[in-house]
Symmetry: D2
Subunit: 330 residues, 4 copies
C-alpha cells in the first residue's frame, strides 16, 4: 500500500487529504503545513500525523508519495526536493507562474527520472473524460472545432488576484489544458481579447475579468475559450467538441435532477453546483486514484510537468495577444 | 382536385376550412353553418361560398368530400346523409355520445360502402406519429406499458360540460384512441378513479375534473391515462411507451426553444403551447391531408367509425368503473 | 460519538458499513454476519471488528446503535432484541412480510419507547427530497396527482423471488412509501393490475413482473405507480407530482452529463445508472446521516415502523386487488 | 390591402411568394423571373400572375410593394428602381457584395425617402426574437458575451461558392447581423481565423469552410461566432447571450419532440431540421409580416440597408483579419 503525505492544509490540501484517507490504494501518513493549527486540524479529521515543516516531511523514509498543495511559489522547490528523494509527486497547478522555472524543473525531473504528475483536475471529471473517450473511439470523426466555457460564480479577493499571475495563468490555464487534450493537436496560433466588465478594481489591479480566446492548430483545427470571473447562475463549466461526424457536449452539474413547472416556466432546474470543490469533487477523487494507479502499475503519469509547461505557454501567449491585438505564434 | 365543403364554422370548423383552403390536394368550395354570419365570415377569409344549411350543402353535385364540424348531436345525421350521397366524410369526434347510435351508423356506412374518417387529430401530431412509427420499426421491441398524460389548461364553461357527455367521453376519449393505437392490442379490462379537485361546480354538474385510468389487454399489456381539467403550466400532452427493448417519449411543445438561466434557476423554458388549436395546428393540417390522400389514392381511411366506437366503448367502461370501483371488462 | 454496529455483511450491509466508517457522527465498532468470512472481509475493509453472531453483538455495552441488514425473516427478532437493550435501530425494509408481525413489533417498540427507524432509502435521494421540499414550500399548490415510475434493469434470481413476498411487497413497497410521502394524505382506495411479460418462470413461481397501481386518498388525490422487473436502458426511477399551481419532476441519474450528436441522433445521453447501489449511493449516505442526526439531537426518527407497516398494508391491498379486479379499501 | 409582387422565382422567391399568398395583410399580384417557366409555375401554385421581366413588373401601378429575391448582382438596380417608383421593398441579403455599392444605395434611398427593408430572416425566428425580447426586458442584466453557432449541413456547389463572395460575406453575414443585434453595441474590433477542413476544393477556390470569429465592442462586450460548411447532425443554429444577471440560450429545432431510450442511450432526439427553408419557415413568415405591418402602420422598417452595410463591413473586416492574423478595427 502506497504511503502518502499531503503538503498544504488549505482548501485544496483538505480535498486531497480526505480523498487519500478514503482511497484503498494508499495510506495517508501525514499532512504538513507551516500553519501548525491547520495541519493539526486536518490530521485529526483524517486520522493521520500532523507536521509543520513540509520539507522535513519529504525526508521521511516511510513516505512513498506526496501531494503538493502549498502556495504556488513553493511548488518547484518542494517538487524537486521530493523528486530527489525518490518520492512520486502529484503537484497542484500551476507548477510555477514563470515558464523558465517550469522548463528548468521539467529538465531536472527528466534527469532524475522522477515520477511527477501535474494536477489538472478537469481531465478526470466523468463527463470530460467521457467526451475524450468518445473522441478516441471515433464517435465524431476528426475534430474540427472545440468550444470551452468556464465562468466562475464570483471573483476571488483582490489580494488573490494580485498574486495569481493574472486570469490567463490562473483561470484560463485549465481551459488551455483541456483545449490541448481535446484538440488532439498542439495549438500553434493564439489570439485573445479581454475586458474588465465585472469589477473595475480588477482592471485597476492590472488584470481582466472577462475574456475570449481563439486558437488554431497546424492542421487548421480551431478552439474557442470564454471566461468570466462572475456568473449569476453558478459555476459554468461546459465543453463542446465538433467533428466531421458529429458533436459531443458536456453539460453542467446541479444539486439534483429536479425540474419545476408553473405558470411562468417549465423545465426549470436548480442553479449550478458552486464552486469547484463541489463541481469537481468526483474529479479530485479520480485524479488522485489515477496518480496512485500509475505508481502501483509502474505506468506513465497521465499528466506531466510538460503538460503544465505547455498550458502555461498558451496562457503567456494569450496575455501577449490581448495586449498587442495580434495572433501570437507558439 | 377534390372539391370539399366544411360544415360548421365554429372553432374547429375554422381550423379545417383554413387548412382546406391551403391544401393543394383540394379546393374549398363552401362552408356552411346555421349561424349565417359565422359562415359568411369564414367564407370571406378563406375565399369560398357561404351557406346556412349544412344539409343542403350535402346535396350539391360539385362537392366530393365534406368535413363535419357541427355540434355533436348533428354528426350522425349529417354523416349518413353525406354517405348516402357518395361524399367522402371527415367527421369530428365524437361521432355521437350514445354508443348504440355510433354502432348503427357504423353498420349503415358498411352497408353503403361509404368512405368515412373519424377525426382523432392526435394520431397525426408529428411527435405522436414518430412514436408510432418507431414502435412499428421495432425500436423498443414488444410494448409492455403505455402512460398517457393529458391535462387541459382550464376547464370549459359549465354549459359545455353539461352537454359534453362527461369528461371520459369528451376529453379522455382522445387518450383511449391513443391507447389502442400505441398498445397495438385492444384493452380488455378498464379501471378508473375520478375526483373533483378543480371546481366543485363540475362535481355538482355530475362530472369529474381529475381522473386516472388503468387498462389491460388480453396479453397483459398495461396502460395508464391521467387527465386534469386544469393545468397551471399550459396544455400538457405527453406519451410514454415502454417496451422490452427501450422506451419512447413524446414531449410537449412550447412557443420557442428559449432557455433561461439566472440566480434562481437554469434551463427554464416557456410555459406550454395553449391550447389544442395551437398545440395540434400541425396535426390538424396533416389529418386533413391524410383524409385527402386516402380519397386520391383510393386507399383505406386511416381512422374509421369503428375506431370512434371502440374509443367510446372504453370511455363508457371507464365511467362505469369509476362508479362501481370494479374493473369493467370490454 | 455514536458507536455503531452493522448486522449483515451482504450487499446492503456493505453499503451501510462503508457509510458508517466514513461518517463523522459515528464510529463503526463491529460488523456481524453468520457467514464469518463475509464479516471478516467487511471488517477488514472498513477497519472494525468482525463477529459471527449478530445477536451477541447486540449484547455489547460499547454499542449505541445498530443497522440491521440481515435477511428479512430475522429483522423483527433482532430489532426487538436491540430495542430491549436500548440501542437505536436502523432496520432495512421490509420489517417483515407478515403485517401482523410488523404491527406487533410496532406495539412493542412503543411500549419500550425505543428509537427505531425503517430504511426507505429513496426519501433521502437529493432529487426526491428536493421534490418533497418544494411541495412543502408551496411551489405547486395542493397536490392532485402523483406518478411514480420504478423499473429494475433485470429480474432477480428465481430463488430470490420465491422468498421475496412477491413484487408488491418486495419492489413496489418503496413506491407505496413514496406515494404516502408525496401525496401528503393516506391512500384509502387501492387498485392494481399485474402481468407476467418479462419471464414466464416468474409467473410460474406465482409472482408478476409488470404492474400498474392506482390509489386515491380521502380528499380525492390520485396516484399511479408502474413497475417492471426488466428495463433495457437501466434503472428507471422517476417521480412526477402535479398540483394546482404546477408540476415537479425528478429525473434519472446517468454516469455523466455527456450528450452525443451524430447523423442519426442528437442529445443522446448514456444509459441510466444501474442499479440501486449506484443510483442511490448518495441516498444511503444521507439516510444513515439522518438516523445519526436524530440520535444526536434526540429528535424523532424521520421514518418509523409505522411507515413500514403502512407501506406493507398498501402492498397487501394491491396484491388482493390484482387478484380480485376490485378496489381494496384500506 | 397591400398589393405585392415577388421578383425571383428561385428557392427564396418561392418561400416569399407562398407566404405572401397566405398573409391576410397583402394580396400577391405577380411573380416575375427571367426564367419564364419558373415564374409560371410559381404563379400557378400561388394563384397570381406570372411575368418574365422583373424590371417591368416594377413599373406597374397596381403594385405597392416588392420582394427582391433575384440573384445578388441584380439587387441594387432593382431596389433603386423600385424605390424611385415609390414601392416599399423587402430585399434579400446581401444587398451587394461590394460595400461601396451598398453605401451608395443607402445614400440614394435616404435621398428618396424610400422604404426599404433588408431580409435578415433570423431576427424573426421565434426563439431568436424571444432572446432579444428577454434581453430588452432586463432578464440577464448587461450583456457581456455572445456566442453564435452556425453550421450548414453540407457545403453548396463549388459554382455557388465561386460567386458567393466567400464564406464571411455569404454565411457569416447572418451571424454578424445577429451579433450587432444581440450585443446592443457596434463591434469595433474584429478577429478571425479560418481553415479548409471539409473539402480541399473549397480552399482551391480561394474560400474557407470552417471558421471562428472574435469581436469586441467599445465598452468591452465580446462575441464569438463559429461556422462550418458541413455538419453531420443537421443545420446547427444556436445562440447564447451571457449577462451580468444570467444567460439566455436558443436551441435548435427538430422534426418532433420524440425522445428514444434503449440499451445504448437515453434521451436521444432526432437530427436537426435541415435546412434553412425548414428551420426558418416561421421566421420567413414573420419577416414578411413585419415588413407588411411597417407599411400598414407607417412605422420604421425593422431592418434597413444600413444594417446590411454594417454586417457586410464586419464580414470584410473578418476576411482581412483572417488573412493578416491581426485585429481589424471597424
Amino acid at each position: 500500500m502506497i504511503r502518502i503525505a499531503v503538503l498544504g492544509a488549505g482548501r485544496i490540501g483538505r480535498i486531497h487529504a480526505a480523498n487519500a484517507a478514503a482511497n484503498p490504494r494508499c495510506r495517508l501518513v501525514a499532512v504538513a503545513d507551516v500553519v501548525a493549527e491547520a495541519a493539526a486540524s486536518l490530521a485529526n479529521s483524517t486520522g493521520c500525523e500532523a507536521a509543520s515543516d513540509p520539507a522535513a516531511t519529504l525526508a521521511r523514509a516511510d513516505i512513498d508519495a506526496v501531494v503538493i498543495g502549498t502556495p504556488t511559489d513553493t511548488h518547484v522547490a518542494l517538487l524537486l526536493e521530493a523528486a530527489r528523494r525518490g518520492k512520486a509527486v502529484l503537484c497542484e497547478k500551476p507548477v510555477d507562474l514563470d515558464i523558465r522555472k517550469v522548463a528548468d524543473a521539467e529538465a531536472e525531473i527528466a534527469r532524475l527520472g522522477a515520477r511527477v504528475m501535474v494536477a489538472f483536475n478537469r481531465r478526470f471529471d466523468p463527463g470530460m473524460a467521457a467526451v475524450h473517450r468518445a473522441i478516441a473511439a471515433g464517435a465524431i470523426g476528426t475534430v474540427r472545432q472545440v468550444v470551452i466555457t468556464s465562468r466562475d460564480p464570483a471573483p476571488p479577493p483582490l489580494s488573490y488576484i494580485a498574486s495569481s499571475g493574472g486570469i490567463f495563468r490562473d483561470m484560463t490555464i485549465h481551459d488551455f489544458d483541456l483545449a490541448r487534450w481535446l484538440l488532439g493537436e498542439e495549438p500553434r496560433e493564439v489570439f485573445a481579447t479581454a475586458s474588465t466588465l465585472v469589477d473595475p478594481a480588477i482592471g485597476a489591479a492590472g488584470d481582466f475579468d472577462t475574456l475570449m480566446v481563439l486558437m488554431r492548430t497546424a492542421s487548421g483545427r480551431q478552439c474557442h475559450i470564454n471566461n468570466s470571473r462572475q456568473c449569476a447562475y453558478g459555476y459554468d463549466q461546459r465543453i463542446e467538441v465538433f467533428g466531421a461526424a458529429g458533436m459531443l457536449l458536456n453539460d453542467n452539474l446541479r444539486p439534483s435532477t429536479l425540474r419545476r413547472y408553473n405558470v411562468d416556466e417549465t423545465e426549470a432546474r436548480e442553479p449550478l453546483l458552486n464552486f469547484f470543490l463541489e463541481r469537481y469533487a468526483e474529479a479530485y477523487r479520480l485524479e488522485l486514484d489515477a496518480f496512485l494507479a500509475a505508481i502501483e502499475g509502474g505506468t506513465a503519469m497521465p499528466l506531466t510537468v510538460e503538460d503544465g509547461r505547455r498550458a502555461l505557454r498558451l496562457a503567456d501567449a494569450a496575455l501577449a495577444s490581448a495586449a498587442s491585438g495580434r495572433t501570437v505564434t507558439v
